[in-house]
Symmetry: C2
Subunit: 359 residues, 2 copies
């Protein structure tokens, strides 16, 4: 049905191949990438959007701001280490942080399914507020919609966020340079495996908890210390592998990482092996990579290690920030990994996400 007489363009996604939206179109992999690059970005085209960052850098009357949005559809609503409410705050706070911004204000848009227990909504709302206080942001505007039973799934939450960019650094894939060191702030795979364990009713010896956490404080500490941050990216849908591939492609570089340097907790590793997942592709909600010049790498790492939110779980030896690789040169977007036994392989982007509705 056409509602706009000017609309005569044909769909930029090959309809024969993809006549319908698939779960993978929201999975953080190749299909989502295609949807964004071929439909959304060219249609909404503007200078800000074209930068392709987790948050948009906007300027209003000379003030540099970051603006971002995410919807949260995670199942189940509650999981070890978090729930949809805290995730909705931390996720958006982190997108602002990854743009080097100080998060200030969030909006909250609820889409509730008729029949949702009121008590569930209340718990989620309280969790959002606790997370907002912990991240030092205010929820200043909101909206509530209710959809008929069977047309939603309990609670969906959208949060949009505004932050202020106080440091003039250009933190973006385009700033990544050959020679940059890739730092990772902790071990991989906790969020995805925590969700998976609950969802599948699997019992592991110890419960893996989500790593969901706000990352703005550590990023702002790095900036205050004068660390030259070339690029930051949190490792959500699609995990480390997808984040590095996106950056490598946007920057036009080759990134080489070493498997032996990438921390994965033994319980997460065990769960991944049992279930057939690769921790490189599993979603995290409190992990990020930082691309920094070699001169700043050691100091940046020291700051990341001393940061409180990391310390809080540092009883577990694999949960230490570390350098996992370098940018080895200009190339059309390649990520290589040296395995523990010394073999080298290409780390590609998946078509979709292994775990649907992880965030």
């Amino acid at each position: 049905m056409k509602t706009n007489q000017n609309v005569r363009l044909s769909c930029p996604i090959p309809i024969q191949q993809y006549p319908h939206v698939l779960m993978a179109h929201g999975g953080g992999g190749k299909l989502m990438h295609q949807l964004i690059e071929q439909m959304f970005v060219p249609t909404f085209s503007n200078q800000t959007l074209n930068v392709r960052h987790d948050a948009a850098a906007i300027v209003i009357h000379g003030q540099n701001l970051a603006f971002t949005t995410d919807s949260y559809v995670v199942r189940p609503l509650f999981f070890p280490g978090g729930d949809i409410g805290s995730l909705a705050v931390n996720g958006t706070v982190n997108d602002l942080a990854m743009a080097g911004a100080r998060p200030l204000y969030l909006s909250a848009g609820f889409i509730l399914e008729e029949g949702l227990p009121m008590e569930t909504l209340w718990q989620v709302v309280q969790s959002m507020q606790s997370a907002a206080q912990a991240a030092n942001v205010q929820i200043v505007t909101g909206d509530t919609k209710v959809v008929d039973r069977g047309k939603g799934d309990g609670i969906f939450i959208n949060t949009a966020g505004i932050g202020v960019i106080e440091y003039p650094q250009s933190i973006a894939p385009q700033s990544v340079q050959p020679g940059d060191v890739v730092l990772l702030n902790g071990d991989l795979g906790r969020h995805g495996m925590a969700i998976m364990a609950i969802r599948e009713g699997l019992e592991f010896e110890t419960t893996i908890a989500s790593d969901s956490a706000p990352l703005a404080e550590v990023v702002l500490t790095l900036l205050e210390a004068g660390i030259e941050l070339h690029c930051l990216r949190d490792l959500t849908r699609g995990g480390l592998a997808s984040a590095l591939n996106e950056i490598a492609e946007a920057a036009g570089v080759e990134i080489a990482i070493a498997e032996a340097q990438i921390p994965v907790h033994e319980e997460v590793q065990g769960a991944c092996e049992i279930l057939g997942f690769d921790p490189l592709y599993v979603a995290n909600e409190g992990r990020f990579v930082a691309f920094v010049p070699e001169k700043d790498a050691k100091r940046a790492l020291a700051i990341m290690r001393s940061h409180a939110s990391v310390k809080a779980t540092s009883d577990q030896p694999t949960n230490h920030p570390c350098a996992i690789g370098t940018v080895t040169g200009k190339a059309p977007g390649i990520v290589k990994m040296k395995s523990k036994i010394g073999a080298q392989r290409i780390v590609d982007m998946l078509s979709g996400e292994q775990l649907p509705r992880i965030c």
Copy 2:
């Protein structure tokens, strides 16, 4: 399931009475009002949120900004006069305009149901961009989630918006004064009745089209002309009756309106009569009320009448901006209406919305 050990507060909504979320909790009436006032506002409590406006007024480094969010869940996705895409742009643009802000940037968060035809998404995306261009805003950041078949309903869209407040007027219910004139920019009920006609498969002699339109230009023209705007409100969920009740309550005033002054197109009136709706409560997407001091009322009305977007449909005689009432004095939130035959009645807020999923 408790996920936060500090959480011990009991649910502020009476659980015995409302153990589950009802459609009416999203309907713009009393139950939604209760949810906002008793759960959301006290929990997320902060100075900005407490103002209770369609958009939050925030200050970043001395710059006055407006920030707002809305999710759109309208059924059907396409209707005469618009679709979910144009609605998602106009609705959020209008929330910014109602705060007296110049809308600048929007975010777009999509929650897609697996199996949605790709062509449908494409049409909606194009419609969003057309609407964004017409409203002079840019869509600068976005997010896509896909939920399993049967866990969503085609497309839900959240848009958040940022605008800049360039005029120092305090446009808020708190600025409303006894003696203010209430101006309305056009006839009531088109959006709701357009949706209803399609949804119920009803056939009327002529198709009623939604009034969905961006309102920022007319508001900015009023501000540029130096009109003292005390309060603005667009007449979406809950219609004119709910908007006036909310303002009357927040301002602590009595508002008196005259039925004879309120324009309703005869086709809308006819449809309302057949279906048992009251146009006062039916949702609009391009209509707003402005509270202005008497000294500015005539000039404001002239500007509203000369404004292009109103002219475009002024072939229909009922579609003229007009003065519909006045603020008669201080009172604990009362809206009175003098009927066409001279009787006076209280215009109350409904419990819910007559028409679920109207926006």
